[in-house]
Symmetry: C2
Amino acid sequence: MGATKTEHFTEKQNFIATLAKALGHPARIAIMEYLMKVDTCICGDIVNELPLAQPTISQHLKELKNAGLIKGSVEGNAICYCIDEKTIQKLQDYFSKISEGIKKKTNCC
Amino acid sequence: MGATKTEHFTEKQNFIATLAKALGHPARIAIMEYLMKVDTCICGDIVNELPLAQPTISQHLKELKNAGLIKGSVEGNAICYCIDEKTIQKLQDYFSKISEGIKKKTNCC
DNA sequence: AAACAATATCGTAATATTGCAATATTAAAT
DNA sequence: ATTTAATATTGCAATATTACGATATTGTTT
């Protein structure tokens, strides 16, 4: 035991959980916020911005990329990362739907 | 090492990350969706609904409750859980803001 | 009070995550 | 071709998560 039983859940549930999990670390939230703040997509700057070592940042970027939350494109020897708005839109839609769904119910607690 | 360096990030960043982390498991997404689906708050039913043992469900409920995503109130010997809409609202607001923020930018990748 | 029902907690094995030093890779600049 | 710069990968120690059997707790029913 110890591993998540993804096979028991729907594809959508696993998808949303994957996105949430990727955002479930303050460093990755900070990276997303930084990427949102700067107009131009910057990469190495994140290492200067956050108090974490370069390999750690690289690892966090990889996780965000695997989840589909950011995109990376090669620009010379540097790599330009930016937020993938399509994925963020999906997350926002999901929470909007949940938020709407709850409002209609009578609160029981 | 191995522990998250929460002290390096803002309170808001840690807060959002905590919420996202709590939702970062398909079982907990399934629990939230079930709680949303049923009008009345039910608890033991979740154990019947999901293919996980009772202690595992109990543990997941505890995490959702600690994060503030659900509330629980005692009803006799049973406990009635339901979604805390205030917290969901905060999450939705956060992603709305991010979503808005991105739309204004010229995509660089 | 004893039995029952619902839920929580404890203990523990299996696995995953976090963080970083050391090192590798890749492309530009000299 | 060598050096430099930017990023990725490897390896590993510390810690956290996941899942569940066994057991405890709490309130209800008989």
